[in-house]
C-alpha cells in the first residue's frame, strides 16, 4: 500500500539541477499538478527529457516560461516560440533527438540495455559525433541510454498499490519513463481501490512507482 503524497511535498523531493523525465505530448498526458508545484516552488536548473516543450502556458511550457530549464532533450520545440528564443539566446541548451530514438534511448536506460542501434538519423545532423555500427551489412547509429533522477509521469488512474492505467493518447512516453529514473512520481487523475484496475489493464506495475500523488481536489 502506498501513501498519498501531497503535491507540494512531491515537488520538495526534487533538488536543483536534477534530470527530470517528464511524460506528455504537447501537454497531453503531462503531470500538470506537479509542474504547477515546481513553478510555484521556483527551484530550477533542471535537465528536462521529454517529447516536446508543449506551448507557452501548457504543461512543460510553464517550466520554460518560469526559467527552470537549463537543458532540454526533446524531439520538438516548434510550437513553443519561448523555447526557441531561449535556445537562440543560450539560456536553454536544446538537444534535438528524433522521437523514436528518444523513446528507445529512455527505454534502454530503463531496461538495462547498453544502447540502441537505429538507422534513424543516418546521413543527417543527428549522426554528428556518433559511432556508426554495421550489423549484417546494414549501417546503424549507436544511440546511448538516457536515465533520469526523477520520472514525473501522469496516468488515468492508480490503485492503492501504485499500479497505473493510462488513457488513449495520454500514454505516450509515460510507461517507458516509469522504468528509467531513480525515483518515480506518478500523478493519477483518480485513485481506486486495489482490484479496480484489472491486472490485464495495468501498464505500469506499482512496484515501479515510488510516490503516488494524492487525488485531485
Amino acid at each position: 500500500m502506498k501513501r498519498a503524497t501531497k503535491v507540494e511535498a512531491a515537488a520538495e523531493l526534487i533538488p536543483e539541477g536534477s534530470t527530470l523525465l517528464i511524460g506528455g505530448f504537447m501537454g497531453v498526458g503531462s503531470p500538470h499538478r506537479l509542474i504547477d508545484a515546481l513553478v510555484e516552488r521556483g527551484v530550477g536548473g533542471f535537465t528536462v527529457v521529454a517529447n516536446d516543450t508543449a506551448m507557452p502556458g501548457t504543461g512543460i511550457g510553464k517550466l520554460v516560461t518560469a526559467g527552470l530549464i537549463a537543458r532540454a532533450v526533446v524531439s520538438h520545440i516548434g510550437l513553443n516560440p519561448e523555447t526557441q528564443a531561449k535556445m537562440i539566446s543560450g539560456e536553454i541548451d536544446v538537444d534535438l533527438v528524433p522521437q523514436g530514438t528518444l523513446v528507445e534511448r529512455i527505454r534502454a536506460g530503463g531496461v538495462g540495455l547498453g544502447g540502441v542501434l537505429t538507422a534513424t538519423g543516418l546521413g543527417t545532423p543527428v549522426e554528428e559525433g556518433k559511432q556508426v555500427v554495421e550489423v549484417e551489412g546494414r549501417r546503424f547509429l549507436l544511440e546511448i541510454p538516457i536515465r533520469g533522477d526523477f520520472a514525473l509521469i501522469a496516468a488515468k488512474s492508480a490503485d492503492y498499490k501504485g499500479n497505473l492505467e493510462y488513457s488513449l493518447t495520454a500514454h505516450n512516453f509515460n510507461p517507458v519513463m516509469a522504468l528509467a529514473a531513480d525515483t518515480v512520481i506518478a500523478e493519477p487523475h483518480t485513485i481506486l481501490p486495489v482490484g479496480a484496475i484489472p491486472p490485464d489493464a495495468v501498464k505500469t506495475p506499482g512496484v515501479l512507482v515510488d510516490h503516488l500523488l494524492e487525488r485531485e481536489h
Binding site: M55, S75, I77, L96, G121, L122, N172
Partner: protein
C-alpha cells in the same frame, strides 16, 4: 480546385484498402478527406493511436485524445491506443505501410529535406526522421515551387531528413518517381505540360514516351 486539393486528391489514390497510414500535419492530413468509399484503412497518429477518427463535436472533446499536431480527434471502432515505444516500433519496424509528409526539398537521389532551415526554422524533427527512415512507402506531398523557386533540386542544400530514397513526389504539377536512375516524370497535373514541369524543376527529370495527366480521387 486549388493546388493543395489537387495534391491531396492525387495522393488519395495511393492509399489502398487495408493499409496502416500515417499522415503528416497540414496538407498531408487533407488526404483523409478524399479516400474512395471502398478503401478502409487505419490512420496512425504517432503520439499514440491506430485508428484516428474525425474531429469530435464542439464541446465533446476528450482531453486525452489528440493527433500529433495536438488537435482534438476521435478514434474509430477497432482503434488501439499505444505508447510511444510501440508507436515508433511500428514505424521503424516496417509495419507502417505508408506515410505522407510535406517537403522543403527533394533531390535527384530521392532524398528528402523537410525538418529544418538553418538559422531560420529549427522546430525539431519530431517523428519525421523515423517516419522517412522506417515506413514502407514515403510519399512527399508538396506544392511544386516555393515563391517561384524550385523545390525539386539536383541536390538538397537543406539538412536531410534521412538517407533513404523516398517512394513518390506528388505536386499540383506532377507525379515524380525517384528511381535508381533518377527522377522519372510519371504524370502531369491538370492542364500542365511537360515543359512547364521541367521549367519549374531544377533537377533533371527523366521523361519517358508516355506521360499521363494525373487522375484525381
Amino acid at each position: 480546385m486549388d493546388a493543395k486539393e489537387i495534391i491531396a486528391r492525387r495522393v488519395a489514390l495511393e492509399v489502398k484498402d487495408g493499409m496502416l497510414v500515417n499522415l503528416g500535419i497540414g496538407l498531408p492530413s487533407m488526404v483523409a478527406n478524399f479516400l474512395p468509399d471502398d478503401v478502409d484503412v487505419f490512420f496512425q497518429a504517432e503520439n499514440g493511436v491506430i485508428g484516428l477518427g474525425a474531429r469530435p463535436p464542439e464541446g465533446m472533446e476528450d482531453a486525452d485524445l489528440t493527433d500529433a499536431g495536438g488537435a482534438f480527434v476521435t478514434a474509430v471502432p477497432g482503434a488501439a491506443s499505444i505508447d510511444s515505444a510501440m508507436s515508433f516500433g511500428l514505424i521503424r519496424g516496417g509495419h507502417l505501410d505508408m506515410t505522407v509528409l510535406g517537403g522543403l526539398q527533394v533531390d535527384e537521389r530521392g532524398y528528402l529535406a523537410n525538418w529544418m532551415v538553418p538559422g531560420k526554422m529549427v522546430p525539431g524533427m519530431g517523428g519525421a526522421m523515423d517516419l522517412v527512415a522506417g515506413a514502407k512507402r514515403v510519399v512527399v506531398a508538396m506544392v511544386h515551387t516555393q515563391k517561384g523557386k524550385p523545390k525539386i533540386v539536383p541536390e538538397c542544400t537543406l539538412p536531410l531528413t534521412a538517407l533513404r530514397r523516398i517512394s513518390l513526389i506528388v505536386t499540383e504539377m506532377a507525379v515524380i518517381q525517384p528511381t535508381e536512375e533518377g527522377l522519372v516524370l510519371r504524370e502531369v497535373g491538370p492542364g500542365v505540360t511537360v515543359e512547364q514541369v521541367q521549367e519549374a524543376t531544377s533537377a533533371n527529370l527523366i521523361v519517358q514516351d508516355v506521360v499521363q495527366e494525373m487522375k484525381l480521387a
